[in-house]
C-alpha cells in the first residue's frame, strides 16, 4: 500500500443490477483516473482492479438496482461496512428500466413470461427496486449514466467531507441555456420539466425529447405534465409508460393515483 494512504478515505465502488454504465463512466475519466486513485484509497472496484478488499469503508458508491436476494444481502453488507453510501445512476437512485413494473402482480406476470417455470437455483429473484428500498442512502447522484463532471465534482467534494452540489432543477433549465426551442410547445412528448438536470439537455440538443433517464426532479409537477401531454393528444397508457420507463419508483405515488382515474 502506498505511503500515507492511511489518511486517505477508503472507497468502494459496487455494481448491482444494471448495465455497469456508471462504473464504466468512472473508468472512462481517463484524464482524472490517476488523480482519483492518488486522492483516495480505492479498496474495491471490480471493473478496474482485481485485488479488491471487502473491509470497512468511508464511502461506498453503489450502482444498479436490487433484483436478487444475493444482491440484497450484498447491499446490506455494504451499508454495514460504509460510513456513507452514495447511490450512483438511475437504477440505484430510482430503480431504472428494470423497475418499470411497479405493481408486484405485473412484475410476476412479466417474470413468468420471460423465464417460464424455470427454477432459480443461483439466488432468489426479487422485484427490482432502488437501493433505498433496503438501506439508508446518504447521497444520490442520478444519471443514465452519471455525468462525468457531476461525478468528479461529487467524488471530490466527498473526499473533502462536503455533500454533493448538484443541479436541483429540471432539464428545462439547461435546455434553455442551450437555447433549444421547446419540444413540448411543438407537441412532442418531452419529460424535461419533470426530469433532473445534469445531462446538459443532450437529447433535446439533438432534437429528441427527454425520456426522463435522470429521474424525477425534486419538485416534479407530475399532474400538470400529465394533463399537458393528455391535452397534446397522447393517451393515458402512453404517458404512464413513458413516465414509468426509467424512474417509476420515483413517481410511484402519482402513478398509483392515476390507476383509479378514468381513461
Amino acid at each position: 500500500m502506498e505511503k500515507g494512504s492511511k489518511e486517505k478515505l477508503k472507497i468502494g465502488i459496487y455494481e448491482l443490477t444494471g448495465c455497469a454504465g456508471d462504473a464504466l463512466l468512472i473508468l472512462d475519466c481517463e484524464k482524472e483516473l490517476i488523480d482519483m486513485f492518488k486522492a483516495a484509497d480505492i479498496q474495491s472496484f471490480l471493473m478496474a482492479k482485481s485485488d479488491n478488499i471487502d473491509g470497512e469503508l468511508d464511502v461506498a458508491l453503489v450502482e444498479g438496482s436490487v433484483s436478487t436476494e444475493r444482491e440484497k444481502e450484498e447491499l446490506l453488507d455494504i451499508r454495514k461496512r460504509a460510513k456513507t453510501v452514495v447511490a450512483i445512476g438511475i437504477c440505484a437512485c430510482f430503480g431504472g428500466i428494470q423497475a418499470a413494473f411497479l405493481d408486484k402482480k405485473d412484475w410476476e406476470k412479466n417474470f413468468k413470461k420471460v423465464y417460464g417455470d424455470k427454477k432459480m437455483t443461483h439466488t432468489k429473484p426479487l422485484q427490482s427496486k432502488p437501493i433505498d428500498a433496503y438501506i439508508k442512502v446518504d447521497y444520490y447522484l442520478p444519471g443514465c449514466p452519471i455525468g462525468k463532471e457531476q461525478f468528479l465534482s461529487t467524488f471530490n467534494r466527498i473526499l473533502r467531507g462536503h455533500p454533493p452540489e448538484l443541479y436541483r432543477f429540471s432539464v428545462c433549465v439547461e435546455c434553455k441555456w442551450n437555447e433549444n426551442d421547446c419540444l413540448l410547445n411543438k407537441g412532442i412528448p418531452c419529460l424535461g420539466p419533470i426530469t433532473r438536470a445534469g445531462c446538459g439537455s443532450i437529447c433535446i440538443n439533438h432534437n429528441l425529447p427527454c425520456v426522463g433517464c435522470w429521474g424525477p426532479v425534486e419538485e416534479a409537477n407530475l399532474t400538470s405534465e400529465f394533463h399537458l401531454l393528455r391535452e397534446k393528444g397522447f393517451d393515458y397508457d402512453f404517458i404512464k409508460k413513458k413516465m414509468a420507463n426509467f424512474s417509476g419508483t420515483g413517481m410511484a405515488d402519482f402513478l398509483g393515483e392515476l390507476k383509479g382515474e378514468k381513461k
Binding site: 473533502r160 436541483r168 400538470s224 399537458l228
Partner: protein, 352 residues
Amino acid sequence: MRIIKLKKDNLFPFLEVISEEADLWAPVKKGDKHVFKVVDDFSQIEMNSTRTILPPRKIFLPPTFDMFSVSEEGYKEDFSHITKKILFGIHPCDIHGLLILDNFYKQAYLDPYYLEARKNTLILGLSCWPDEYCFAKSTNTHIIEEGFDLFFTYLKDFFLVWIGSSQGDDLVRLKPELFDEKLTDKDIQTYLNWQAERDKAYKWDLNFTAMPDLMELKYGDPLWEKLGDTCLACGSCTNVCPTCGCYNIMDKQFLGGKDGKIMRHWDACTLEEYSEVAGGENFRKKRSDRLKLWYTHKLQAFISKYGKPSCVGCGRCIVACPVDINVRTVGKALLGEEEDAFWIRLNKEVTK
C-alpha cells in the same frame, strides 16, 4: 442625435468593415426561431427576425461561465470570456432590457463581469415589426432613445441610421462613403409612414398602469394557487426574460490538487432552491409564492423603484411557457379578463 441614411446594398459592405474590429453577433435562424450568434456569412443574418429564444443578456453574461480560478496563491478573476463584440440586430425592447439590467448590476454592488462585457460590446439596434406575441407598445419600449451606438430603421430600400454615441460615430467613419448625410423629404415621409403603420401593427395590449395596484389588491387572490398548481417550475419564463439577472455560484475543485474554479450560472427565483437558506429552510417552498415574487418584481416593485415595469413586452415568456403562465395571461387575469390558457383549463379538468 445625428440621423444619416444607408442604402440597403451598402449594409453588408459596412458590416464587412466593422466586423474586422470585433466579433459580429446577429440574429440567425434556429429551426423556426431565432438566436444571436457570431456571424461570418452576413446572408445568414435575419433582417426580419422576431425575438431570439434567449435574450441578448447571454452575450454579456453567458448562462454559465468561470468567475475565478483558484490556486494556492489565491483567487484570480477570470475575464477570458469577455471579448470585443458588436451586437447587430438587437430590437428596441431588448435594448430597454439591457438598460434595466444596467440598473440591476450597477446598484450597491457593481458587477465587474457585466460591466466589463457592456464596455466591450457595441450596440447596433435594428427596427422590427410586431408579431402576435409582441406588446412592447404597452410597456413603451417599442421606441428607443438611448442605449445604442447605432440604430438602424429598416425601410425597404434603405436604412435610417441614428448615431447614438461617439463610438457609433467612429464605426461610421471607418467607411463614411457608404452613408448619405442628407435625407430627402421623401425619406422622412417614408419613415413617418412606416412608424405609423408599425404602431398600428401591435395586436394586443396590456394596461400596465393598473398593474402595481392590482398586484397589491390581488396578492391573496386564489388565482395564484391555480397558477402554482399548474406551474412546472421549469424556470423557462425566467431564463428567457431579458430583464432577469439572478445567478448562483458553484465551486469546481479539481481532484488531487488544490486548484479549482468558481463557476457562475443563471438562476431563477421561480426555482425551488432559490429561496432555500442554510439549514434547509425555504421561504418560498410553494410555486405560487415564487410566481408571486416574479410578478411582483416585474409588475410592481421595479415600477415603484425605477418608474417603469421590469417587463419590456418582448413576448418571450408567452412563447416559452408550456402551460401558458406569462405576462399576458397573468396580466389579463389580474384585470379580470379571462384568456384561454392551459393553466385555466387544467383546473377545470382535474377532478382528483
